[in-house]
Symmetry: C2
Subunit: 200 residues, 2 copies
Amino acid sequence: MYEGVLQELIDEFGRLPGIGPKSAQRIAFHIIQTESYDPSKLAELLNTVRASVSFCSVCGNITQDPECTICRDPRRRRDQICVVEEAKDIVALERTREFSGLYHVLGGAISPIDGIGPDQLRIAPLLERLRDTTVTEIILATDPNVEGEATATYLARLIQPLGLTVSRLASGLPVGGDLEYADEITLGRALEGRTRVTPA
Amino acid sequence: MYEGVLQELIDEFGRLPGIGPKSAQRIAFHIIQTESYDPSKLAELLNTVRASVSFCSVCGNITQDPECTICRDPRRRRDQICVVEEAKDIVALERTREFSGLYHVLGGAISPIDGIGPDQLRIAPLLERLRDTTVTEIILATDPNVEGEATATYLARLIQPLGLTVSRLASGLPVGGDLEYADEITLGRALEGRTRVTPA
């Protein structure tokens, strides 16, 4: 619809996830028309980010060094490993400030429909880490969906025989949510996983 | 939350309109992790787009040449000028294939709250174009909101004394819409602008 370079810019933005044609157009016009905005910064980052970002040799987290900041941090307890699907999940868990152990990124979840079996995930490096006897608990923090549950079940069967404590994130009602609008599976899980109220 | 360059990339995407922190994170991960995606194309466009895109010296449309493709097109009728707020509006109108005249981009609408008065808009160049007596009709296609209506009223008062036909885009029910869900102002306009049904 537009001439030359402008349309190319709109098309390139439209190729990014979550950006539709209208948003791409809005962004492109912003770049052209907003004097205070400097597009060269983003251009430079796009050219350099891949070369400067790599994956932690221990846990698979995203890092600019051979080992990520969490694996190198001497204050983290080394007896707990929290297993997640993606590096993004580490950031979400870190935001809670409730976990001070280490992580392990699988790189996805078991999903036969997408052709992803256990061999495509970083399960062998996880078992390798478990040879170190300082680890006593594995927290399975895969997503609470079909693929995540399948992956958690698979890992639990694999790890429990090693004599480690294996735990799974609790399922239940989201905090601030409304019981009336909770789906029946979540509400069922909340009932199943109910915790006893102790007298104060 | 992330290390170095990755966080910078997320921040830069977050500065674009309509991209929140979550979307910015998703896009940044896509760029890092999708092997088939080449970010250098977008980087190059970001570096070149501003220098290669400029505004048509006649109508103010976005173009890579001194005059835009519409102004140069000998098949367009030169007796009608459609006045729009932004260059994007031209694309929307062109998509209808209902208009074969020329355009004039104001560069915004009168909005005292944002400090935009008539002097900040491309109204003088419009009046300059009207000196050419081939122009017989001005179609005011500013947005159907407070600012757009104010701008249309202002322009109508300015142009009508020149003896030109001044028209405004119709307001009414959107096609495919539902009368029940139309707001009262739109429905009022639809009633006001009702058209007579002639027997077939």
